[in-house]
């Protein structure tokens, strides 16, 4: 138990560079996340946060630099490769199918089947999917309407919860969240932040992009600041003030090494 709970480094990104045509989007991004840790990646618009996430989730490939998962350098040439390595991404636009119910969304693309006529015809086993989803949701402290409810009738926070739960259901080591609280109200934001802390307690490494520094200070263990495509500062949440972070984001402070 203690062995499993000792933080191990899950993700290390070193000197990541990416150019889109004339624009040097990333000029040298460095960051690392360990198991059971929440790292917030902050920065102004265009600082390169989303581009970095895309590299780590395998959607885009860097021009230079290395991405290491559990100490091994990897080439993430597609989302499925990242997924196979235990990286799950919760996108800003949630990527849920509104017309399907909660269970179908949790198991989208990974549906369980049972044989109707053995060897000839199998059907989707919704009951088994629901049965397997319940303990995972319970362990995350997630309370949702009956799992057969269509996602369309859920609130913004509940939808975000479904999206996060889907990432966890597949036993991921690293969960990437892109602006998870952007469209949410106060109470919903709080429950999503609680959920992120729960993920960390379950020994998952979490990388969160956020604009909202209040949220960042509530949820993150460490904060990495990007500016103009470069990592400009690493902070520990407990050792930094809101003003320091803002100064690093806007470039009002000297580069902080760590």
């Amino acid at each position: 138990m203690s062995e499993a709970n000792r933080p191990r480094e899950i993700l290390r990104v070193e000197n990541l560079k990416k150019r889109f045509g004339a624009v040097q989007a990333l000029k040298g991004v460095n960051l690392h996340v360990s198991s059971g840790e929440v790292l917030a990646l902050v920065g102004d618009n265009g600082a390169g946060k989303s581009t970095t996430i895309k590299m780590v989730s395998g959607v885009d490939q860097p021009d230079e630099g290395t991405i290491s998962i559990e100490g091994r350098a990897v080439k993430l040439n597609g989302p499925s490769i990242a997924e196979a390595l235990g990286i799950q991404t919760v996108y800003q636009d949630l990527a849920l199918c509104d017309n399907l119910d909660i269970v179908s969304n949790l198991f989208l693309g990974k549906e369980l089947k049972r044989p109707l006529i053995p060897g000839v015809l199998s059907v989707v086993d919704k009951e088994e999917m629901e049965k397997r989803a319940v303990p995972v949701l319970d362990s995350l402290g997630i309370h949702l309407p009956p799992l057969t409810t269509p996602v369309a009738s859920l609130s913004g926070g509940q939808r975000q919860t479904v999206a996060v739960a889907r990432a966890v259901l597949w036993g991921s080591k690293l969960v990437l969240l892109d602006e998870p609280t952007a469209a949410l109200g106060v109470a919903q934001t709080r429950s999503v932040l609680n959920l992120i802390r729960t993920l960390a307690k379950k020994d998952i490494a979490v990388l969160v992009i956020s604009h909202n520094l209040t949220d960042v200070f509530q949820v993150a263990d460490r904060i990495t600041v990007l500016r103009h495509g470069e990592t400009v500062a690493h902070y520990k949440n407990s050792e930094v003030t809101n003003e320091d972070v803002v100064a690093a984001i806007t470039g009002a402070s000297r580069k902080v090494e760590m």
């Binding site: 199918c97 509104d98 017309n99 015809l121 059907v123 989707v124 629901e130 009738s153 109470a187």
Partner: protein, 405 residues
């Protein structure tokens, strides 16, 4: 909605009664079969008042035979609409396959020849579907254009096939028998019993699996009510048709197709992926669903079903002509799916709705013919029904977006 800070949002009521399930449906903008069944009842009452022969077993038997080709095409349309796509070529495809069928059957007059001709006609539809599906998915030309262009081309092919002979009659007795055979009364009742038994087995089986896995299950009383409801409806249908000549074979084929493809949409992986794709294609792609494969398959299905519809139509009319599949078949088939409640925007609807929609349109056609109303009135009324159906869909969708976030 106000929530106590620090607590999770309130879970909705655990009572999964009929009322709350209707509320959920309203909220999600999925009214299911409710509006179309109300429409059907109203239409039947009106026509029965205007002409007391409308609900005669004989007329109802005619009615179900008249909707067989529209209904078959509408099943395929439903799949395409579930993806949020459109197929404008199905009527022309049904014409081509009818043309191929009659030409082959003029030289092959035996029952074996009929079967081979049917298979080749269906394969021709499937080939067209492969072509269109690949063109849409691999090259990325909108389905609207590919199938519109296809539709023109297939009409040309039909003209070339039938050439100067013009109308070709069906002389193969096996082909003609498809639409002139009625099942004996006892067989109708046997099929009704099997239908009810399968329905009961499926619903009770699902309940049993849910209880075994410790999930919330629908109360047994409610399931029994549903089973009794299905039994009553099936009995009325069989009783009515048996009062005339029995269940028409062509109608049985349509009902079988509806059941098979209803099962495909609801229970198979392919069907679930069709819904996922229609709901959010990007989400489906990210979840690892083979989006292109699903799309191509759906276009193949639509064209294949169009070919089957063409065969059934040729059998009923006893001929294929250069005009086969032109007329209003295309628009009526699409209208049938939409009137049944399948959304034009993708992701919502079902094959059963298509059957209900075809019944609504068929009833209007048939009722108007009984009243010897002119085509002008018929078209006006069908147009109005389509407009109302899409308006209901749009309004519930708008309501859903409001409720959604």
């Amino acid at each position: 909605m106000s929530t106590v800070p620090g607590q999770k949002e309130p879970t909705s009521t655990n009572d999964e009664g009929l009322f709350s399930s209707i509320k959920v449906r309203l909220a999600s903008g999925d009214l299911g079969l409710i509006p179309v069944i109300i429409a059907l009842i109203v239409i039947w009452i009106v026509f029965q008042i205007l002409n007391p022969h409308f609900l005669d077993p004989r007329n109802l038997s005619n009615l179900v035979q008249q909707i067989v080709d529209i209904g078959t095409l509408a099943i395929g349309v439903t799949f395409v609409l579930l993806l949020g796509e459109i197929d404008l070529s199905i009527a022309a495809v049904s014409g081509v396959s009818a043309g191929i069928l009659v030409i082959l059957a003029t030289s092959w007059t035996g029952p074996f020849g009929a079967i081979i001709a049917i298979i080749i006609a269906i394969l021709s539809g499937i080939a067209i579907g492969v072509f269109q599906g690949l063109w849409v998915t691999l090259i990325g030309v909108p389905a609207f254009i590919v199938t519109l262009a296809g539709s023109l081309g297939y009409q040309g092919i039909l003209l070339a096939l039938l050439g100067d002979t013009g109308t070709v009659p069906v002389i193969n007795p096996t082909l003609l028998a498809i639409s002139s055979t009625y099942l004996p009364g006892w067989l109708g009742w046997l099929l009704a019993a099997i239908t009810v038994a399968v329905f009961a087995w499926a619903t009770l089986g699902q309940r049993q699996r849910r209880t075994q896995k410790g999930l919330k299950a629908t109360p047994i009383n409610q399931l029994m009510l549903r089973i009794i409801g299905v039994a009553i409806i099936t009995s009325i249908v069989v009783l009515t048709l048996n009062l005339y000549k029995g269940i028409p074979l062509s109608a049985l084929i349509l009902i079988l197709l509806v059941f098979i493809f209803g099962f495909v949409t609801q229970s198979t992986l392919f069907g679930r992926h069709v819904y996922a794709l229609g709901g959010n294609a990007e989400a489906a792609r990210r979840a690892g669903i083979k989006v292109k494969w699903v799309k191509v398959s759906v276009f193949i299905l639509a064209a294949g079903l169009a070919a089957v519809g063409g065969i059934l139509g040729a059998s009923r009319l006893g001929a294929a002509s250069p005009a086969t599949g032109t007329g209003d078949l295309l628009l009526l088939s699409i209208a049938a799916a939409i009137i049944g409640g399948t959304s034009l925007f993708g992701g919502r609807g079902s094959v059963y709705n298509a059957l209900a929609g075809a019944l609504v349109l068929g009833s209007v056609e048939n009722g108007m013919d009984l009243l010897s109303a002119p085509s002008s009135t018929k078209y006006l009324i069908e147009g109005a029904i389509l407009l109302i159906a899409v308006t209901i869909d749009t309004l519930t969708r708008r309501r859903r977006i409001k409720a959604g976030r």
